[in-house]
Symmetry: C2
Subunit: 158 residues, 2 copies
């Protein structure tokens, strides 16, 4: 087998400002914050036209997770023994290799390099690696099936 590609060096295109200062499991739905785009990474017009979209997809780094806590195998989600022990790629936990988060949130407004958002599950000062418009056609084209444990886990998330 060929050697794996990479590593890849990525920069913060933006930083979360405001919202929560500590990671919490639940009740993210009403949290408001900003994403401040970084002039060293993108031009001043990088977000032009974004306000035509109601939602954005945000890729960010769980940078407060210490690398030595990253799990590469299985664990119980939220360390809850009532839920099955599943692989780290079968859950959305933050202590994952590469520590990447992906989340869709509401875009409340755009003022130059500042994006105002609601329901972004990332804390103050989180580095943002990408912002994309949320596009309806990228949603699943067939019915979504998921196990009962994750529906239970997500019950109070928003």
């Amino acid at each position: 087998m060929a050697s794996p590609p990479g590593p890849f060096t990525l920069v913060a295109l933006g930083v979360v400002r405001g919202g929560r200062t500590e990671a919490e499991d639940d009740h993210w739905g009403d949290v408001e914050a900003e994403i401040v785009l970084q002039a060293n990474a993108v031009g001043p017009d990088a977000a032009t036209g974004l306000e035509e979209f109601s939602h954005i997809d945000v890729v960010y780094v769980f940078d407060r997770v210490s690398p030595d806590r990253v799990t590469r195998g299985v664990r119980h989600p939220r360390e809850n023994p009532d839920w099955p022990e599943v692989g780290i790629l079968a859950q959305r936990a933050r202590l994952r290799p590469n520590r990447l988060g992906v989340s869709t949130c509401e875009l409340l407004g755009v003022e130059g390099m500042v994006l105002r958002v609601r329901g972004l599950d990332a804390i103050d000062a989180t580095p943002v690696l990408d912002v994309k418009p949320h596009v309806r056609e990228f949603d699943p084209r067939r019915p979504v099936r998921q196990p009962a444990w994750i529906s239970e886990l997500m019950r109070d998330y928003w």
Copy 2:
């Protein structure tokens, strides 16, 4: 303003095998491929339990885009003058800073370190930075609004 966080060094957790060998704009829906997880990055049980989900969210690198083609300002999507000139963060084009793609596709099967997928819009040998289960509760909780140009652009995408 504080100096921006990062840079961040990320590794490929997997590599796309099969599917298309050249990037094309449209007709991705029926393309089948595999994501081969990399033993240097994740454990052999990293995908345990993933087969309970019908769809996965995949974060990958558009590594065939030459860094000097990356756009930091505005451009016409697909260089089509009929569509408005918008910022790179208001479109999903691959020549974006950090060259990250995020896509939801169907998961057809899991055999150890190999995930069989359909409708992943990434070409053969693409490095994969993360795989997450697609969870219904992460879909937008309110109606999605988007401009007409992107619905037009997406017409033949799948």
